[in-house]
Symmetry: C2
């Protein structure tokens, strides 16, 4: 068999929830980075400051992040969770747990010796905060907007209500698989974070933490009161460096550069168009499984269904379906934890093409 | 003027101390990574486990790291310092400070509320530990083997003596710009760390922390005694994942892959040859400045001179020399702190070619 042909046939499409399919231009962006010595420049140089400035500017433009929010570069969403707890909590945090990643946030708070509380609902359900009553306002409320483990999304308007009910509380939102599709009003919460290997289609190893001045005031208060805010990546050091468009340590310069390029790419492509396409693709996938005997969407309540992480109950057919897709070069994620062998999770990010979604569904429609 | 010609003329060579010149094969290694979907694979997949295993194996072979030492992937040397203090110190650490990076290690310990002590010597001097007497053995001794800020190296045999003198103390060694040139006996200390954008010529954003079982026992002791060992990247989580050839979080997969490729490259090239070449290049540079009126090596004691970070006093000529080199496409680092405007620092890593060193010295020899 012809080798080239073999290679083309074997080209894989990753519908995994992240790491996932790369932005189609990543290869040329990396070539540009190497051509321009981006990986060799000093992180205190004018060249680096310019890259950092450009990336922050493009990201803020793309996601409509207010000017008075600060952008920090970390290594992973898990690191962001740790740093938020360490830098925004003296004693107590409250966690709304609707899946494995919300639970991780909660467990990190416990590991950091905070009095963390959790309000937990079963996998597959979502939260409404309108009638939320608490004995005491917590210092920090942590919410997972789009649960990558279950495919549940929380209506952003529900999140926005929290600030009204608890004006003194800091609100932290995990938006790991939310952006850039979900158009969020950042002024309605105090900090948020995502990693770049999801909806931005970058190589993994970089996470973005976005915080407002209220978080900076809180860490300053903790420091003044001799509460341990850590050393590496404490918010004071991150903040002071961000004001200079720099980082505390020698950072993942390539990742920062690539993120800026992908943001520009999405702005030029037209983010509204990206959002429309995401909705079309998501409808195609959900509709297929609504109509098919193959499986059913895990999330029963249509309004709670994530547009970017689509979870399907396949039960005993799961393994067969995963294999069939893989034979056709299509990779999806398995379910999480208890659902590892019965569900699949299909990512629907900007870099996932409509034609590839169609192809996936065509392949699935051949199953008897 | 011909555009291509223009581009060739403008190709820069980075003799900076890191980030610096990339390994000459990085571009093709990245292409290989993208071709093989390295940036899209899941970090719990067999594919990732294989990459992780290969990289650790090649790194251990290249640097002669004993089997019973564990390799952790972090984001930066600064993070390594923080994690070593957090996970290996209950109350006290002792820091031998002979430059800015040793000082950073010390200051991180203070920021983490440890009773850190420092023994400080002037920039440009080195340590001998033979006659070291201390009232009390500290829990942890921190040493910077090769000070990137001053170009001073500590004779590794001096470091090896510490274990004899303080058998119960953990010894942590900053080898950020030491490896792969310096052939260290890892069994003579308990942990060590470096970042990949120095002597391995990788893009920045990945650091390697190497620890033995004594460090793991220590963190276990701290945990059992309710001492805060942090959550993210605590040694227990890093260790447990490393046993499975995995990482706690979705890591910098590309960096881990590239490090493995560069280690293989250096093994195939022959690491002994790399070391000989490093010595030849280092002698060329030191000899040039010994003979020249242009400047003088900062480190007076020849034995204390680093082979990989060469610091030259240029005094009032510094700015002119940096500009001259830059006009010829050669980038060097400035001096550090007080020496920012009077010194240059020249990196001499495996990826720095003899012919480029010659060219740099030829250009410098034209200065009257």
């Amino acid at each position: 068999m012809n080798k080239t042909h073999d290679k083309i046939r074997m080209r894989k499409i990753y519908f995994t929830t992240g790491p996932t399919e790369l932005n189609p231009e990543i290869k040329s962006f990396i070539a540009e980075a190497i051509e321009n010595d981006i990986c060799s420049i000093n992180h205190r140089s004018v060249e680096f400051v310019d890259i950092c400035k450009d990336t922050v500017k493009s990201l803020k433009a793309l996601l409509n992040i207010p000017d008075n929010y600060h952008v920090f570069f970390l290594a992973s969403a898990t690191e962001c969770m740790d740093k938020i707890i360490t830098n925004c909590v003296e004693t107590s945090s409250l966690h709304f747990v609707n899946g494995a990643f919300a639970e991780r946030f909660y467990k990190i708070a416990l590991e950091l010796n905070k009095k963390a509380q959790n309000i937990e609902i079963p996998y597959g359900e979502s939260f409404k905060f309108k009638k939320l009553k608490l004995k005491e306002a917590p210092e920090l409320i942590c919410i997972t907007h789009n649960e990558t483990s279950t495919g549940v999304t929380i209506d952003s308007n529900e999140i926005y209500k929290l600030k009204k009910g608890f004006p003194e509380t800091l609100i932290a939102v995990d938006i790991v698989t939310s952006v850039p599709y979900y158009n969020l009003n950042f002024s309605k919460f105090d900090c948020a974070f995502f990693s770049v290997q999801k909806g931005f289609g970058l190589p993994p190893g970089l996470a973005i933490l976005i915080v407002n001045d209220k978080c900076i005031e809180k860490v300053q208060y903790l420091k003044n009161n001799k509460i341990n805010i850590g050393s590496y990546h404490n918010f004071i050091s991150l903040y002071e460096n961000s004001l200079k468009n720099q980082t505390t340590e020698t950072p993942n310069t390539l990742g920062i550069f690539l993120l800026g390029k992908v943001c520009e790419y999405l702005i030029n492509y037209n983010i509204e168009l990206v959002r429309q396409e995401t909705e079309v693709k998501s409808e195609m996938i959900y509709n297929f499984f609504e109509m098919s005997d193959l499986g059913t969407p895990f999330i029963r309540n249509v309004k709670d269904r994530s547009k970017t992480v689509i979870v399907i109950d396949l039960n005993e057919k799961q393994n067969e379906i995963i294999k069939l897709l893989e034979e056709n070069g299509i990779i999806v994620s398995t379910g999480y934890r208890n659902y590892k062998n019965t569900q699949i999770r299909i990512a629907n990010f900007p870099q996932h093409k409509t034609e590839d979604v169609k192809r996936m569904l065509e392949i699935l429609s051949t199953v008897k």
